[in-house]
């Protein structure tokens, strides 16, 4: 019996590991489609940001109550993982509460902490479901936000419900286990005097008082299996879900932008041309590299993968033209909509939604992934992020106010993607709105965005002594 369970357990573990590895590789490959960019500068500041924003969840606390609730789930997730170590070892070795006899004094303390957290997670998941479906928090409603019409809401519901089931399984498992121990059944009885009742599950024990020993053992086994299989399934599921942020949130914050939010990234390739046009000496990059952050696809990096006319593209048309960090951003996005709730364009009913920009980028990447899986890894399709996913109307509505960047709890930058797509529209397709073209030509000819004569620029000085 034991041996059979052990074999099944190892098999389940192996299957989960195989799926997760496969997914991780696929996602890593998708992120690597992006242009190279160095995000390893300034490690001190990066670690500081990671500690505050990722580990410390600083930006979650702008909404205190939600911050606290999210922190419970987050702490529960991190700490309950320690407990999973014991479960996995028990599963492989066929033991029961392996650690208990070795760390007797702290064992009950640890389990009590886990139980309290499990209960907390359970409660918070119930509140979160309520916020979505009863209190109907606006940024989480599909009627108001078209980007949520697909998989987003089922995804969130599955995750929250799964967490509730997992936590119930964990707590009732402890309860049934305690009853079996009290009754001295089999190896459960061995823990009499070693493991006491636990903080939360002790109140669940009466539920099991009427169970026969056999039924109780069956319940204990089933809930144990449900808990661990649930966790393994969750680990696989997460790689398909916005819940990937539990893993990618950390590197995503570490590699996030350090420059001021208002600074738009330079395009050295343009600098060179402008210097030639103005008859200035052509300067090389301070770091000597032209391959990075120049807004163009370096020919070397894409050789063999793209046709010649795609080399040297200004701005971004598709995910290949974006930077890898933009793509990691897309996989890290939680679809929480804090960006969209802060976006002036979205608030006033325009089509632009920064959350949608991130979700579109991810959807496009997943479409490419599916293409790889059905047609081989060199597969390319005819679609692109701009046009097939994101429209000009959305792009043009952005005021570049950076509210989205400020609001994102994990430092995602939707604006960066918007600006790169705008560059493509304007520089490659000459598709700026007519009034922008007028503004451009005014700047070009009159040195101001309006049609005034440059020689009138200093006329205001006549006013300084007027009353």
């Amino acid at each position: 019996m034991h041996i059979l369970q052990q074999i099944l357990f190892v098999a389940a573990l192996a299957v989960a590991a195989w799926f997760v590895t496969k997914r991780v590789k696929l996602i890593a490959r998708a992120i690597n489609l992006g242009r190279p960019e160095d995000r390893t500068d300034n490690p001190g500041e990066r670690w500081r940001t990671t500690l505050l924003v990722a580990f410390g969840q600083k930006k979650m606390f702008t909404n205190l109550l939600v911050g606290v609730m999210h922190f419970v789930i987050y702490a529960g997730f991190i700490i309950i993982n320690l407990e999973i170590l014991e479960i996995i070892l028990d599963g492989i070795l066929g033991t029961h509460r392996l650690f208990a006899p070795y760390i007797t004094p702290i064992y009950p303390f640890l389990i009590n902490v886990f139980e309290v957290l499990a209960f907390g997670v359970l409660a918070v998941c119930v509140v979160f479901l309520t916020r979505r479906f009863v209190a109907r928090v606006s940024r989480l409603q599909a009627e108001r936000h078209r980007e949520l019409r697909g998989f987003s809401i089922p995804d969130a519901t599955i995750i929250l419900t799964a967490e509730i089931i997992l936590m119930i399984a964990f707590l009732t498992w402890n309860a049934s286990d305690s009853v079996l121990r009290d009754r001295g059944v089999g190896y459960y009885g061995d823990l009499q005097g070693v493991v006491p009742d636990f903080l939360i599950s002790q109140y669940l024990k009466p539920l099991f008082a009427g169970f026969s020993d056999t039924a109780l053992v069956a319940y204990e086994r089933v809930s144990w299996w449900l808990h661990i299989l649930g966790i393994l399934a969750f680990a696989v599921y997460v790689t398909y879900s916005k819940h990937l942020h539990i893993a990618l949130g950390f590197p995503n914050v570490y590699f996030s932008d350090l420059q001021p939010k208002g600074e738009m990234q330079n395009m050295p390739a343009v600098t060179k041309e402008v210097q030639l046009m103005l008859g200035l000496p052509v300067t090389t990059e301070p770091d000597g590299s032209q391959a990075n952050d120049n807004g163009m696809q370096p020919a070397e990096a894409t050789s063999g993968e793209s046709t010649p006319d795609e080399i040297g593209r200004f701005g971004a048309k598709d995910v290949y033209d974006l930077k890898w960090i933009n793509l990691m951003n897309a996989y890290s996005c939680t679809e929480c909509g804090r960006c969209t709730a802060a976006c002036p364009a979205n608030i006033t009913g325009k089509k632009l939604s920064p959350r949608k920009i991130m979700m579109d980028t991810r959807d496009r990447l997943e479409e490419i992934q599916r293409g790889w899986q059905t047609n081989g890894v060199d597969y390319k399709d005819e679609k692109s992020l701009l046009g097939d996913y994101i429209t000009a109307e959305e792009l043009n509505a952005c005021t570049t106010c950076q509210a989205c960047i400020n609001a994102c709890p994990i430092n995602i930058n939707p604006l960066d993607i918007i600006l790169q797509l705008r560059r493509y529209r304007v520089m490659e397709e000459s598709q700026a709105p007519a009034s922008w073209n007028a503004m451009f030509s005014n700047i070009e000819n009159n040195m101001a965005p309006w049609k005034f004569s440059p020689s009138d620029r200093f006329n205001w000085a006549e006013m300084v002594n007027e009353k």
């Binding site: 208002g262 330079n266 402008v274 520089m427 700026a432 309006w450 440059p454 006013m463």
Partner: protein, 266 residues
């Protein structure tokens, strides 16, 4: 009034010809040079500079658009053309320190010019005015005109979120001894006026309302009779919003430097 003060606006070219150098270059910006309403802000700031005896100069006709709207609309070529010619002019005059009233010029000069060879100490006029107040060089007279008046401050994206300047304009307003009231969305959470990123130069995309209307409604909800701004685009957007709400008789939009100039009787 017989003892009228006279104010002067020296240009860099004049200074250079005289073998002199200013303490600081005042970057006026396109709106400050051409927009009828905003020219009054330029004038107010110049009067303050004169009043406290700061040695400053402007580029005058040699100034050109920083290129901010072009860059944010996606026209990187045009931006860099503007940037590099401006940098040539600025470096030609050996400019070290720049003050400007426009957060867009400020952001571009401060954060985006260095990579193209333009390295200057760039100060927004809110920070500059705060410095003058801290040094005691501006002392608003016992605030007769401001006592009891409710003022609300609208954060500009390119001053606030972009460059984390939230306190300076508020401290400038605090010097007026008025009653500073805050809107619901302020500082890092402030709502855009709707003009940035090139929006000022085109019609907004279709929606339920314009961004400036949303923002002005929020400002009016504070009960303030004065909306203080520190950006030319915010100035226009807020003024239009006030008109849209038919409140132009009771609610005024001023730049912080105009309020200081008023307080100083300049």
């Amino acid at each position: 009034m017989t003892t009228e003060k006279t104010y002067t606006v020296p240009t860099m070219a004049d200074m250079m010809a005289a073998g002199d150098e200013p303490e600081v270059l005042f970057w006026v910006g396109c709106a400050g040079s051409f927009d009828d309403r905003y020219k009054r802000v330029t004038v107010a700031f110049v009067r303050i500079l004169n009043h406290v005896g700061i040695k400053f100069a402007v580029l005058g006709p040699e100034e050109a658009c920083t290129g901010d709207p072009a860059r944010r609309a996606g026209n990187e070529f045009l931006f860099q053309m503007q940037a590099m010619s401006n940098i040539q002019v600025l470096n030609g005059y050996n400019v070290k320190k720049i003050v400007t009233a426009c957060p867009h010029c400020f952001n571009t000069l401060k954060n985006e010019y260095p990579e193209l060879g333009g390295n200057y100490e760039v100060i927004h006029h809110s920070t500059f005015l705060q410095g003058l107040i801290d040094e005691g060089r501006i002392r608003v007279k016992d605030g007769q005109s401001f006592k009891g008046r409710k003022i609300t401050f609208h954060d500009s994206c390119y001053l606030g979120r972009a460059n984390k300047i939230y306190e300076a304009p508020r401290e400038v307003l605090a010097a007026l001894d008025a009653d500073l009231v805050e809107m619901k969305r302020v500082k890092a959470n402030g709502l855009c006026c709707g003009a940035g990123g090139g929006q000022y130069f085109k019609e907004p995309e279709p929606g339920n309302k314009d961004v400036n209307v949303e923002r002005v409604q929020e400002a009016l909800a504070t009960g303030a009779d004065t909306i203080a701004v520190s950006c030319p685009f915010c100035m226009t957007m807020m003024s239009d919003g006030v008109k849209n709400q038919n409140r132009e008789d009771s609610v005024r939009v001023y730049d912080i430097s105009e309020l200081i100039a008023q307080g100083e009787g300049l």
